[in-house]
Amino acid sequence: MQGRQKPYFGILVFPGTNCETDCYHVLKDLLKVECKYIWHKEKKDDDINAIIIPGGFSYGDYLRSGAVAKFSPIMSFVRDFAKNGGPVLGICNGFQILLEENLLPGAMLRNDTLKFICRYINLRVEDNKNPFTGGYDKNEIVRMPIRHNEGNYYIDNKGLEEINKNNQVLLRYCDESGNVNENTNPNGSIENIAGICNIERNVFGLMPHPEACCEELLGSADGLKIFKSIIDFI
């Protein structure tokens, strides 16, 4: 782990990133922890001990979501940071970047509705033994918004078996009572997968936007525990 004691988050900013200020607001204004933006052209940052790759449309997502961002200079730092056990959270486009970067297994397809989807959905917490969902109970049902064109997670059978076996699936789309099935799947994602971590459990990608639901005023405060869990872990 990093040498620092106090949490210090780095929020990556690529051209086209658009949720960086939302993450900043949660960390700085609501949770009162240190954080800063890191421009994608930077090569490294020695201050931070957690990384957030926020949502948005890096490089317009014109080629494939996240496909261009992985060539940014900062990404080799992210790789090393992850390799050394530092917590990395990828939200929406950030999740897509982590997949393109092979820090997480699988790939993202267009929503099977062929439309952008913006709405609140329910999620079932599948595992809480990791730095990200530790604040929830196992099987807890939480409400968060999804906002994406390409959230249809795919992985081949062998990979699927693996991530299931290793409890890498942290969140699945469900209904209010926790039922996981076709009717509660908003985008065609395989086995209703909404978020996964790597086998070392320090890199987490999810399609829902926890930073958008940290205050009751906005419809839900269920997202806050993800950030709190990371802070506790650090």
Binding site: P15, F57, A212, L218
Partner: protein
């Protein structure tokens, strides 16, 4: 070969206009100069048919920092903060190329906002198409316009939080796509667009210039016809990623105080944006086309000057800061070229390197452009249609065909009434994490971080009312936005308008236009809401037939303390339901509120009768009362009665709250149908804890507004006068899925 003297009409110029150009120049214009005149004098850029009328708007008020005349208007919201907003149309481009037309409409209005130094915080839109049923083309237009708006706004990270969608055959050949964008700025960061300081540079920031959108402004100033399809290349192509980068660059430049002025480049491209800057500053300007970064090297000067390539801005820069400006643009990897210089000549000169290509006195392109006072005549159809009344026989025939249950179900499944979630779920309406009321309520509410404040927005217009009576219809549009805001506890501060009409050279159309402007003026004065920005879209006709006169109003209101915010949803079992406002009495029986109603159109296929009356003074006290009730924490929900009448308003509050209601309406010697579906104005359905009834009544009495308890919330059934009994589950399904059902057919 283009012969200037013979072919000026091809550029949309009229005979008298060509003569005037010769007079201004004292010689024949060359092709480049003629092109510049043609775009600057187009209706779209010059407002030549509307300028004389628009100057009568009330444009000042307590909150106004900037009225019409800049890229967008500005309101002071306290705490050294300001909001900047404007609404604009992109009707013609959307009619021929719906995806790009709508997308670039959004792009354009967003640029207007950040051109003022504000960060865009939300967008709204107002859309109108022909009816969707069995019309694949209308479905295509609707689908692509929504996608165009969504893809652009979503990528920009600007939430699209509200608006309205209507379907009527009048818009079949000429859809309306009106977009409103809102920005938040620190007051000391606001910038203007005027050019000043002889020797200062004019710098182009953003995309390279290509051949897209040439003559777009002229196209937007003409009727649509069989040749319009061939105008598709006049439609620009949007690149929201580039715009997001341009946005960040511009705000960084303003933040670092590196630029002196900023102007959006929209219709008529470099020409219009630079001419406007020069005209506002009373200076001359030299533009060098050789300096403009091009997509195609072979572009000729007139193409460069009037190209409407998107995602470009013009900045005014002190020569000493040019290298700093370039460094910021380099960081973001975008173009930054000095293309012009401010002069004291009063001339707009176009050069290519050292060669002078054209020279025009600046003011002849702007202030001295032609102004038209078209002939105005009341169209004959109005008196004829106003006579129409639904008879008792009509209503009893309807009840022979359908039960009361079936009628309500049909009303709430009408695309004009039902949930627009099919639309807003394709828009990111939550990014920036300020959306305090999700779409579907009377207003969109955006909280201002770091304060207890919120700003509410409402967009409204009713073409049918305006068709039957443009004066009253326009007043109602303004009043309804104010009422929508009041239902969320917001005090109206100012509005923007987007005025959509047919060909103003036709006396009947001009009469509609003139009367609705008068209606807006009257409503703004009585309700004390200044007009701070706006847009006029004329020539909305296809094959000689005009759309209904459709003024769309977007109003912003201030919520001082967001903690008492209410939505339209009924909340708890046994909450009392109260109707506040004019129930039956004061309106004459001739004007029964059924004219132009959704009920009449849906079941009798008629847009006729009299536009509902509106008493603006009454409206003002009603809105004040609502704000007061919400501030005092006395009510739990509020929803105004509009399209679809009181039955719809009640059903919507049930649907939104996922809860039933038992309602008993005093029939007052009228049929139940008339009571349920008339669209009389100035009425609001509220719900409250029963312990507050006495206090609410007292406040209503004090403001002379009148109220009556009409029922109780609760249970799983909506029951009205025991004639309607429908399970809430069923209503929700019909209401939520109506559009999706039509679109997937």
């Amino acid at each position: 070969m283009f012969d200037v003297e013979k072919d000026y009409k091809k550029l949309g110029l009229k005979d008298n206009e060509f003569l005037k150009i010769e007079e201004y120049l004292g010689r024949k214009p060359n092709y480049l100069e003629l092109s510049i005149y043609s775009v600057m004098w187009s209706e779209h850029c010059s407002y030549k048919s509307s300028r004389a009328l628009l100057k009568n708007f009330k444009t000042t008020g307590k909150y106004v920092l900037q009225g019409p005349g800049e890229n967008a208007g500005i309101l002071d919201i306290g705490d050294d903060q300001a909001i900047v907003f404007k609404m604009e149309s992109h009707n013609h481009p959307s009619a021929v190329e719906p995806y790009q037309g709508a997308a670039t409409g959004i792009g354009g209005i967003i640029r207007d906002i950040f051109a003022m130094g504000a960060r865009p915080i939300c967008s709204l839109n107002s859309l109108r198409f022909g009816k969707l049923h069995d019309d694949d083309h209308q479905k295509y237009l609707f689908e692509m316009v929504v996608k165009g708006i969504g893809d652009y706004g979503n990528c920009m990270g600007i939430p699209t939080v509200g608006g309205e969608v209507y379907f009527d055959e009048t818009y079949k050949g000429n859809c309306l796509v009106n977009a409103m964008s809102v920005g938040l700025a620190k007051k000391d960061m606001l910038v203007k667009s005027k050019a000043f300081g002889i020797g200062n540079f004019v710098v182009l920031i953003g995309s390279s210039t290509g051949r897209d959108g040439i003559h777009g402004a002229t196209f937007a100033s003409d009727e649509l016809n069989e040749e319009s399809d061939a105008r598709r290349p006049s439609v620009q192509v949007g690149d929201p990623f580039m715009e997001k980068v341009v946005l960040e660059v511009c705000l960084e430049l303003i933040d670092k105080k590196m630029i002196l002025g900023l102007q959006d480049m929209g219709a008529a491209g470099i020409t219009s944006s630079s001419v406007e800057m020069a005209s506002k500053g009373d200076v001359g300007l030299d533009i060098d086309v050789a300096m403009v970064p091009l997509r195609e090297a072979s572009m000729v000067p007139y193409e460069i000057m009037i190209s409407e390539s998107q995602e470009r801005m013009l900045a005014l820069v002190d020569p000493k800061r040019l290298s700093d400006v370039k460094a910021v643009c380099d960081k973001w990897n975008i173009n930054c070229e000095r293309i012009g210089i401010v002069t004291d000549s009063g001339l707009y000169r176009i050069l290519k390197g050292g060669e002078l290509l054209g020279e025009i006195p600046v003011k002849t392109l702007t202030d001295d452009a032609p102004i038209y006072h078209h002939k105005s005549e009341k169209p004959k159809y109005i008196d004829e249609l106003n006579k129409y009344l639904l008879t008792d026989a009509d209503l009893s025939d309807l009840l022979n065909k359908f039960s009361h249950n079936e009628i309500l179900k049909k009303i709430i499944s009408s695309p004009n009434i039902c949930s627009k979630k099919w639309v807003w779920e394709q828009y990111d309406h939550m990014v920036q994490t300020n959306t305090a009321l999700l779409p579907g309520h009377d207003s969109a509410v955006i909280r201002i971080k770091g304060t207890s404040k919120a700003i509410a927005f409402s967009c409204d217009g009713n073409g049918r009312y305006c068709y039957l009576d443009p004066y009253k219809g326009a007043m109602i549009a303004v009043a309804e936005t104010a009422r929508n805001l009041a239902c969320c506890g917001a005090l109206p501060m100012g509005l923007t308008d987007c005025l959509n009409y047919g060909n103003p050279e036709k006396p009947g159309i001009f009469w509609q236009f003139k009367n609705s402007i008068d209606g807006i003026i009257k409503a703004c004065e009585t309700l004390d809401i200044p007009v701070i920005s706006g847009n006029v879209s004329l020539y909305n006709e296809s094959f000689g037939k005009a759309v209904y006169p459709t003024p769309v109003i977007g109003t912003a209101g201030l919520i001082a303390d967001i903690s008492n915010l209410v939505g339209m949803d009924f909340k708890n079992n046994d909450d009392i339901i109260i109707l506040i406002g004019i129930e039956n009495g004061s309106v004459s029986s001739v004007n029964d509120g059924m004219g132009g109603s959704e009920f009449m159109e849906l079941f009798f296929n008629k847009v006729a009768g009299m536009c509902p009356d509106i008493d603006l003074d009454y409206e003002k006290s009603l809105d004040g009362l609502m704000i007061d009730l919400i501030k005092a924490g006395l009510i739990k929900s509020a929803h105004d009665v509009s399209t679809g009448g009181i039955a719809t308003a009640i059903a919507e509050s049930c649907i939104s709250g996922r809860i039933g209601a038992k309602i008993n309406i005093d029939l007052n010697q009228k049929s139940l149908l008339e009571n349920l579906y008339n669209e009389k104005q100035s009425r609001i359905v509220v719900s409250a804890d029963s312990k507050n009834l006495a206090q609410i009544k007292q406040k209503c009495d004090e403001s002379n507004t009148g109220c009556r308890q009409i029922g109780l919330a609760g249970g799983e059934i909506l029951s009205i006068n025991n004639e309607i009994n429908i399970e809430i589950k069923e209503i929700i399904k019909l209401y939520d899925n109506a559009i999706e059902k039509i679109m997937s057919k």
